[in-house]
């Protein structure tokens, strides 16, 4: 995979990020103390089910959640400069130029009334002092780079004339237009069908390799993460419950929620189960999350100690960043996560 952290320290560093939204029913804490670091050229996967705070985390990095009812604390540092306290104008310069973002639904992420080329050129013109012609030529080049056929013709198409996959490619082209250092991809393949998904992932992987682009890949799909990520962070109910390298998360998962996610993957190389495994129950309300471990109400392995919230720390006694929020003993975990010879959420110990 790609090279790791350079001597100059992380490119993007998020510490104790908390994001709450004042609602009529009280403060909805969407992100509760999330931290991560991203090195140049690294791909970090953030995984979790809908509503776990992964998208809010990503959008807050770019200041897109700023609003009168948002309560944001913690720090987001990009190349050493804080983005939480940054002025709107400073933040504007970072957006698109240094950190670019692509979104889940390419059908609605492009403005329907402007031509695709114009929307790409608009971003270039917002940051660079170039002529309209130069911006347009650059947009054609970018569309060619992401694999749009006949870009010199398709540049004058409107978004509705593109297919879903092409729109996502156009979004990627737009994101890359100023050669950013970080790409945040928020569920970039969720709205696409499987063949197109693979194409977009390959494209992201290529960019990561060829341009040393650092990527934060947000998804609910562990299969997507397995393909491109170097490191993985699993989120549940606004908190990180486990983080580690791709191998650590897939082969030695420590948190029952991660077991559940892995267990609900269907595999072609195993006999098909009668019923697809799932994690019973619903994620908790973020308006009044349960005390203690947030996964406790859905966890078959919960015991008395789980009433107290475990911190995110390395519990394996080795020099690794592999950390989790679970009170169970590592030895205990190994036996409990094994279900029919593979990893799964399992049932309570007899």
């Amino acid at each position: 995979m790609s090279p790791r952290a350079t001597a100059s320290g992380p490119l993007l560093s998020v510490k104790d990020l908390e994001v709450g939204f004042a609602t009529e029913d009280g403060l909805l804490k969407a992100v509760d103390g999330v931290s991560f670091e991203l090195a140049r050229g690294e791909v970090l996967g953030i995984v979790g089910e809908s509503g776990c705070g992964k998208s809010v985390t990503a959008q807050t990095v770019m200041g897109l959640t700023r609003s009168s009812n948002a309560r944001i604390s913690g720090s987001v540092e990009f190349n050493g400069a804080d983005l939480i306290e940054a002025s709107d104008d400073d933040l504007r310069k970072v957006r698109g130029e240094s950190i670019a973002m692509i979104f889940q639904d390419p059908m609605t992420s492009l403005n329907p009334v402007y031509k695709v080329g114009k929307q790409i050129a608009e971003q270039i013109l917002a940051h660079r002092d170039v002529s309209d012609k130069e911006a347009r030529d650059r947009a054609i080049e970018l569309l060619r780079d992401v694999g749009i056929p006949h870009p010199e013709r398709r540049i004058d198409d409107y978004p509705y004339e593109y297919s879903g996959g092409m729109r996502q490619r156009a979004m990627v082209a737009m994101a890359l237009s100023l050669e950013p250092e970080v790409l945040i991809a928020d569920e970039p393949t969720t709205a696409l069908d499987v063949t197109i998904q693979a194409q977009i992932l390959t494209l992201i992987e290529q960019l990561n390799r060829d341009r040393d682009l650092a990527v934060v890949l947000i998804t609910h799909d562990l299969g997507v993460v397995a393909e491109v990520a170097d490191r993985v962070q699993v989120m549940y109910a606004g908190q990180v419950v486990e983080r580690g390298t791709l191998d650590e998360i897939f082969y030695d998962p420590q948190h029952p929620y991660t077991w559940g996610l892995l267990g609900s993957l269907t595999r072609l190389d195993r006999p098909r189960p009668k019923r697809l495994p799932q994690i019973a129950g619903q994620p908790p309300s973020l308006l009044s999350p349960p005390g203690g471990c947030r996964f406790r109400p859905r966890c078959p392995h919960a015991f008395e100690q789980c009433a107290e919230l475990p911190s995110l720390e390395g519990r394996l006694g080795k020099r690794s960043e592999h950390a989790d929020r679970c009170w169970l003993q590592p030895k205990e975990k190994e036996s409990r996560r094994s279900v029919d010879g593979r990893i799964g959420l399992g049932a309570p110990a007899a």
Partner: protein, 319 residues
């Protein structure tokens, strides 16, 4: 696009035909509308009334009467029952005044509505928004005839800041033209400013939640660019539709009250008089005139709409 326009034009003829038939029938069933009895005077005997009926062709069967009337409208030979003046000529004379009033008012209402709506949406929930909301509600609630009378009384009669009415042609004296029309413009525009600014506000607030607005921000556009290029532009689509319909309706009859109060010699005033005297020929002609503009602007809106929202273009060329 050519086929689309041709289709709309054919539809337009159909609508105008239907409207003319309906107006004609209504006129023939409402009480007290017998024109012969009115023209012949109070003490007319049966013989005189019969002669008038004969003169005007009112003894013919209704379809024949209708055809004659329509033929006269389109050949410019229609004369009024009550004044013997040529109807088409009267309408043509009224058009510059009516158009001056309507176009001026429309420019004012759109300009203020866009500014107020934009400010309201950008400052949603703030003091300015609350103030503009109250103003808009007041504007919507003021009846035109009342507002016109109040403006006339205070600004023209008491303070003598403005003329008390009348119309000066633009070609004669542009300054006097605008001076005479300012109060009528405001009167006519107030209702629409209130209504349109509210509409734009809610339309903009909807668009602000769209994914592509988030994309625009993520691109690093300034907040102003995001609002004007991406939010405002998309929010104007419903406004433009409505504007076309309302403008057509104002030209086609909505200005009657304003023209009457300010004594502007336009088509509206003429229509008002024709209604007052139940004079069928001008009524028919004015109705056709009004309907023509309403249908015309509907068509223009559809074409403009395709320009504003490229997705429509595909649909129209596929028709």
């Amino acid at each position: 696009m050519g086929r689309f326009i041709a289709k709309r034009l054919v539809g337009m003829v159909g609508v105008l035909f239907a409207i003319s038939v309906i107006v004609f029938l209504i006129f023939n069933v409402i009480p007290n509308s017998d024109p012969a009895a009115r023209i012949a005077g109070k003490n007319a005997d049966a013989e005189l009334i019969a002669r008038v009926n004969d003169d005007l062709g009112l003894n013919d069967p209704l379809p024949v009467q209708y055809v004659t009337l329509m033929k006269e409208i389109f050949t410019g030979q229609l004369t009024s029952y009550s004044s013997d003046l040529n109807v088409d000529e009267q309408i043509r004379e009224g058009i510059p005044a009516t158009m001056s009033l309507c176009i001026g008012a429309a420019i004012i209402w759109m300009a203020f509505a866009i500014v107020f709506g934009y400010l309201s949406a950008v400052r949603a929930g703030g003091k300015l928004d609350t103030m503009l909301t109250v103003l808009a509600l007041i504007g919507i609630s003021l009846p035109v005839f009342w507002l016109a009378a109040i403006l006339l009384y205070y600004l023209s009669f008491r303070v003598q800041l403005f003329p008390t009415g009348g119309y000066v042609p633009l070609t004669e004296d542009p300054a006097q033209w605008a001076y005479h029309l300012l109060l009528p413009w405001i009167t006519l525009a107030v209702l629409f400013i209130g209504f349109y600014s509210r509409l734009l506000r809610s339309s903009m607030l909807d668009v602000m939640n769209e994914d592509y607005v988030r994309t625009a921000r993520a691109k690093g556009l300034s907040e102003r660019q995001v609002r004007t290029r991406h939010v405002l532009r998309n929010s104007l689509i419903p406004i433009v539709t409505l504007f076309g319909l309302d403008f057509g309706a104002v030209v086609g009859g909505g200005a009657i009250l304003t023209e009457t109060v300010f004594n502007i010699n336009g088509v509206g005033l003429y229509a008002g008089e024709a209604i007052g005297s139940l004079d069928l020929p001008p009524l028919m002609a004015v109705t056709m005139f009004g309907a023509f503009f309403i249908v015309l602007f509907n068509t223009i809106v559809d074409i403009l709409y395709a320009y504003l929202d490229p997705r429509i273009r595909l649909g129209s060329s596929a028709v």
